[in-house]
Structure formats: C-alpha cells, structure tokens
Amino acid sequence: MFSYAVKRAGATAVTLLAASVIIFAFIHVIPGDPIYVLLGDTATPDQIEALRHQLGLDQPIVVQYVEWAGRALSGDLGRSIFFQAPVLSVIADGAETSTLLATMTMIWVALIGVPIGMVAAVRHGTWLDQGLSGAAMLMASVPTFWVGLYLILIFAARLGWLPSSGYPSIFDGGLGNLRYLILPSLTLAAPNAALILRLTRASMLDVSHEDYVRTARAKGIRPWQVVRRHILRNALLTVVSAFGFTFAALLSEAVVTETVFALPGIGRLVVQSILRRDYPVIQGVILVIVVLYLLINLFVDIGYRLLDPRVELQ
C-alpha cells in the first residue's frame, strides 16, 4: 500500500512538473514581449527595466523557469495588472464563492444522480430504466448556460423566488446568502448529475454480474438485501471516487455558470482576466486549478486503493 502511494505521488509530481513548464511557457508564447504581457500597455520604461531585471528576463530561459517555479512554490504567483495586487490574493478572493458553489453542486449531484441511477439499475431493461437513462443523456446534451438562463427566467424573473445574480459573502450576510447559489449550483449540477446517474447505473450492473452476488441470491437472501449489502456497497466505491474527479472538474466548468449568474468566483475571474488581458491572473488560475486537479485525483486514487486493495497500479 505504502509503495503504491509513493509511486502514485511520484507520478503526480512528474506530471505536475511537466504541466508547470507548459504553464510557465504560457506567458512567453502569447504574442508580444512578456514584459508588456506582464505589465500591460501603460508601463513606463523605468518599470519595464526594473521588472525585467527583477524577473530575470535577461537570464537564460531555464534559469527563468527555475526562478518562476521557486517563487510559485513560495506562493508568489506574480502581480495582477488590473488589480495591482498579488495574483494569489486575487484568486483567494474568488475562492469562497467557487468552493461553496462546487460543494452545493456536489450535494445536488449526490441527491439526484445516485438514487435515480440506483432505480434505473434495479429496474434494468424496463421502460423506467430506458426513460431515466434517456433523460440523463438529454441532460448531458444541454448547454449549462441555457439551463441557467431558463432558471433565471422562471425562478428569478417570473416568480421572484430567488436572486438572479451576484453573491454577497456569507461572512457578511449570514448563511441566508447561500440562496444566491441555489440556481447556479442547480445549473452546474444538471450535466454532472446525469454523468453520475449513468455511472451509478453502469457500476451497479457490473457488480450484479459478480459471483458473490449470485451466491448471495442462491443462499436465499432477500432481493433488496442483496441490492443494499452486496451490490450497492461495492458499486458505490466507483461512484464515490468519481465524485472526486467531478469536484475537481467543477472548478473549471464553473467558468460559464459563474459568468451567467455574475458570481464573484474564480471562473468568472478567468473570463474577465481574458477580456482585460490580465495574463498573470490567467496563468495563476490555470496553475492553481491544475495543482488542485492533480492533488484531488491523487487522493482519490490512494483512497480507492485503501478501500479496494484489488486495484492494481497501471
């Protein structure tokens, strides 16, 4: 087990190293001198010279990478052109919204996707299964922002039950502010719940073909007991690990949803930074999301292995 964890962590470290080279290169492959990319068009010659020296842009590219990576490791992701503030603090400002949005989305996904997927699997092959699986495929074919705009139209504009945009911090206005995230999280949950539904169904059907399930049935255990104790417990392992990947992916999928609902999260920060040509922020967000993505995947894999020692390292 321990050697598995070490090997897996090593592989993640190598991937991260390679990914960091790509992210570092990002600033350099954008058309134009990196100095202008980093300082914007309004920089004075003095500022340019100072930053060029400070960042070591007069050094060989390998030295530049090592210094950049060293600064990134110590939490210095550069300065935002637009905010005139450290990139890390700009990202931290959006972290509350993004984390809460992703968490609420995962709650919906678990509440909708898992039970309905179970029903579809238990009723495998019936019209109910076909209907539910078809509905899941339909949900996965809908653009998220379209769902979001419809939810705004119905629940915010027509009925006036929920706010349509923005999110004031729960630290300022109390937990009641979570109502600002209800429509966005439902929007984001739709395609992901569909995915988890299909996965729950497929994984339960897989397990139901196992020998121990047949043995349990042959022993005369009641059908719903077989489903609950033998099939579900084993099938949910796959589903729970998919939760980890989904959560990690949500951080970037939220880009569109946060834009629709004007939420002050990391996703909208990316879009606005693209429009503002605030390249250091874009680079910083990509780095943070990739690191989180890799770490979550690493923990999920190790956790999976802890729960199911049969899994082999590929």
Partner: protein, 286 residues
C-alpha cells in the same frame, strides 16, 4: 460501401427507433446547412429596426431579434457553423489521435513517453485548456476548433491507444506478424480497419460535446465573431432580452440540444453494436 454493408450499419437503429429519430434530426441539420440560402425565408444579416423583438407569428415563425433580424433564418444558417465546428473538432482529434495512439501502442518505448505527455495535457481541464489556447491564438472560428479539439485529442488518443493494444494481441495480428508482415502492413491491413467502428462511436460523442464547447465559447464572446450566425452567438445576444423576448432563448438553445442529443443517441446505438472485446475501452468516456 455495398448494400449489405449499409444494412449492417442500420441494425443498431432498427432495434432502437429513437436512435433512428436521431439520424433524422442530424440529416435535417445537414440539409439546413447545405440548403440554407433556399430554406431561410429572409436574409439572416438583414437589419429591420421597425420589426424589432417581434414574438413568433405567421411572417416570422421564430420571431425577430433586437435588430429585427429573422430568428428562423439565423437558426438555419447557424447549422453551417455547427457542422463546421463539429467536423473540425472531430478531424483535429482523429488526425492527432490516430498516429499518436497507434504508434504508441506498437512501439512501447515511444508510447511510454507519448502517453505520459497525453497524461500531462489531461491535467488541464478541457474548458480551461480551451480558454488558455484562445488567449494564445486569439478568438476565431479556426482557433475555436483547435482549442476545443485539444481537449478531445487526449481522450481520443487514449481510446485509440487502448484499442490498438488489444488489436495487437489478437491472434490474426500475431499470425500476420509471424509471417513477416511489417508495421505498415499491420497498421493498414489490420489495425486501421478495426478502428473504424469504435472511432465512429467516439466521433459521434466528440461531435456532440464540441457543440456544447463551441456554444460555451460563443457565449463567453471567445468563439465565432458575433455577427456570424451560430446558435451560441444567438444565445449570447438573447441574454439581455430573456424576459422581453424568451423566444430568442428557446429556439437556438433547442437546436443545440436536438443536435447534441441526437449525436449522443447515435453514438450510444453504435457503441452497443461494437465488438464486446473493444467496447469497454469506452468506459467512463463521453
């Protein structure tokens, strides 16, 4: 392809009428794209300030937008952009994925390096990768295709890699190799023909998700230029008027859903007729 071949391809659709309906929707989209100038009742670019934001009625079945342009005509012309983006992304994914995947499987040492590189790219969530590439390349239709295609190139490469590994172990491939067949022969005679069916499945899923990806980029203002009719652009513009003109939201969105759903249905039906030995490569994808 002879008639028997066509009949064979139709079997999955006979068993599933809904997948056949999907084929019909896709045919309709293709026809709309090809015959747009004849099918569209009005010029999709013509601005008529006098008839702004009219709800659907006999003269304009889908209503008009904020410039008085006919929504139906714009929706029909948008089919062109949908097909262009979809086929572009599929082409990009295949043209990169097939050589990388096949040669990685045939030459393990090369494959080790290349598949690790694919892993590295997969560490970038697909939408984030697309946005990053758009920043570097600049927003345009061609760049949207590359940016979306980059995300699907990785999954497609992995699938091709997995399939080729399996095919390589098949007895007839081993037999062919032991009789002295070279790599070219193996690839052309045994690997590629067997990749056709699974890749058709993958292509329909990639085509479907490319529609959603392109719509997202258009919506963020980072895809096709706003004056070009595309369903994503139409939705992006409708946003300001959703309470006054909900039909501007309904029609283009439905077009995206119809198209993507049909492609998914077709992909699903095709997947079920795949050789079971190759089918589970699609586990967890798409």
């Amino acid at each position: 392809m002879n008639l028997d071949g066509i009949a064979l391809w139709m079997t999955p659709f006979k068993a599933r009428p809904i997948a056949l309906a999907g084929i019909c929707v896709l045919l309709a989209v293709v026809l709309a794209a090809v015959f747009a100038p004849w099918l569209a009742p009005y010029d999709p670019y013509a601005i008529h300030p006098a008839i702004r934001l009219l709800p659907p009625h006999a003269g304009h079945w889908f209503g008009t937008d904020q410039f008085g342009r006919d929504t139906l005509s714009r929706a029909i012309y948008s089919a062109r952009m949908a097909l262009l983006i979809g086929s572009g992304v599929v082409f990009f994914a295949l043209i990169t994925g097939i050589p990388i995947g096949v040669f990685s499987a045939l030459f393990p040492r090369l494959g080790h390096v290349l598949m690790r590189a694919v892993d590295v790219l997969m560490a970038f969530p697909s939408l984030l990768l697309a946005l990053g590439l758009i920043v570097i390349l600049g927003p345009s239709v061609a760049n949207a295709i590359i940016a979306i295609g980059a995300g699907y190139m990785t999954t497609t490469t992995r699938i091709i890699y997995g399939l080729t590994l399996r095919l390589r172990a098949e007895t007839y491939v081993e037999a062919s190799r032991s009789m002295g067949a070279g790599t070219n022969w193996l690839v052309i005679r045994h690997i590629l023909p067997n990749l056709v069916s699974p890749l058709l499945v993958q292509a329909s899923f990639v085509f479907a998700f490319a529609q959603l990806g392109a719509a997202s980029l258009d919506f963020l203002g980072l895809g096709a230029p706003p004056e070009i009719p595309s369903w994503g652009n139409m939705l992006a513009e409708s946003r300001t008027f959703i309470t006054r003109a909900p039909w501007l939201l309904f029609f283009p969105g439905s077009m995206i859903v119809f198209t993507a759903f049909s492609l998914n249905l077709v992909g699903d039906a095709l997947r079920d007729r795949l050789d079971p030995r190759l089918r589970d490569v699609f586990r967890g994808e798409a």
